[in-house]
C-alpha cells in the first residue's frame, strides 16, 4: 500500500525530508520502523532509540504496536514541547 510518512523536528533533520510517500507491506508502526531502518543509515540513525520518539497514525498519537493497515499517514517526531 501507499503511505505518507512525515517527520518533524530532529527526526526530519536526520532523515533529510519532511515527508515522503512510500510503498510498504508493513502492518504495524514497529514493522514500518524495521522496514525503513533496513533501507538506509539515515533511517537507522533516526530510529535508533524508539524511547526518544513518538508516533501518530492519521494524526492521532499512538504507540509502536499500533496497526497501520488502511492508514493514510504516519508521523514520527520527538516528545512535544508546546506552550
Amino acid at each position: 500500500m501507499k503511505l505518507d510518512v512525515m517527520y518533524f523536528a530532529w527526526v526530519r533533520e536526520r532523515i533529510g525530508v519532511p515527508r515522503e510517500t512510500i510503498e510498504t507491506e508493513a502492518t504495524t508502526v514497529a514493522d514500518l520502523v524495521r522496514e525503513l531502518s533496513a533501507r538506509e543509515d539515515r533511517y537507522e540513525l533516526a530510529f535508533s532509540d524508539l524511547e526518544a520518539l513518538r508516533v501518530a497514525v492519521d494524526q492521532d498519537l499512538t504507540d509502536f504496536d499500533a496497526s497501520i493497515t488502511g492508514a493514510c499517514e504516519v508521523a514520527f517526531f520527538p516528545p512535544m514541547t508546546g506552550g
Partner: protein, 150 residues
C-alpha cells in the same frame, strides 16, 4: 470554543477583551500567556517553532473538549503561534471562562499541561553558538499523571 494556530503575532489584550465581551453568565475569566524566554547562558537569537498542520488543531480541540467535560466552562480560547520568534514575543495564550473562579483556574492549568506535551509543537533555540531542539522534561509527563489520578 476558539482554537487558532498561526504564524502571525496577535494582540493578547484585544483577544482577552473579545473573549470576555458579552459573557453575562460567566463570573470568572483566567488567561495564561507564554512568552519566548531568553537564555541566561547564551543570548537567544530567535526561537523556531515547528508544528504538524492538521494534527495540531485536532489535538488542541480534543484537549479543550476534555477541559469542557471536566469543569463548568462557558468558553475556551487557545492561540498558539509557530515560526520564528524573538525573546519577549508572545508564543501562545489560553483563556477560560467559567461561572466560578476555581473552575477557570483549574481548566487553564490543565490546558497548559496537556498542550505542552500532547499538542504537536517543537521548539528550537537558536543562539550564536548554534541551535538545539528543546527537550521535553520528565516533570511534563508527571503533570499529566497528576491530572489522570485527580
Amino acid at each position: 470554543m476558539r482554537i487558532l494556530v498561526q504564524d502571525a503575532p496577535f494582540d493578547a489584550g484585544a483577544e482577552l477583551n473579545a473573549f470576555q465581551a458579552g459573557k453575562t453568565d460567566m463570573g470568572a475569566v483566567v488567561t495564561f500567556s507564554g512568552l519566548v524566554r531568553d537564555l541566561p547562558e547564551a543570548p537567544l537569537r530567535h526561537m523556531l517553532i515547528e508544528h504538524y498542520p492538521g494534527m495540531t488543531e485536532r489535538a488542541l480541540t480534543k484537549i479543550a473538549e476534555e477541559a469542557c467535560a471536566r469543569w463548568s466552562l462557558g468558553d475556551v480560547l487557545v492561540i498558539h503561534r509557530y515560526g520564528q520568534m524573538a525573546p519577549g514575543d508572545q508564543i501562545m495564550m489560553v483563556a477560560t471562562a467559567s461561572p466560578h473562579r476555581k473552575d477557570a483556574f483549574a481548566a487553564a492549568d490543565f490546558l497548559m499541561d496537556y498542550l505542552k506535551s500532547r499538542a504537536p509543537f517543537w521548539k528550537k533555540e537558536v543562539t550564536a553558538d548554534g541551535s538545539d531542539w528543546v527537550a521535553a522534561k520528565g516533570e511534563d509527563e508527571e503533570a499529566l499523571r497528576q491530572w489522570q489520578q485527580g
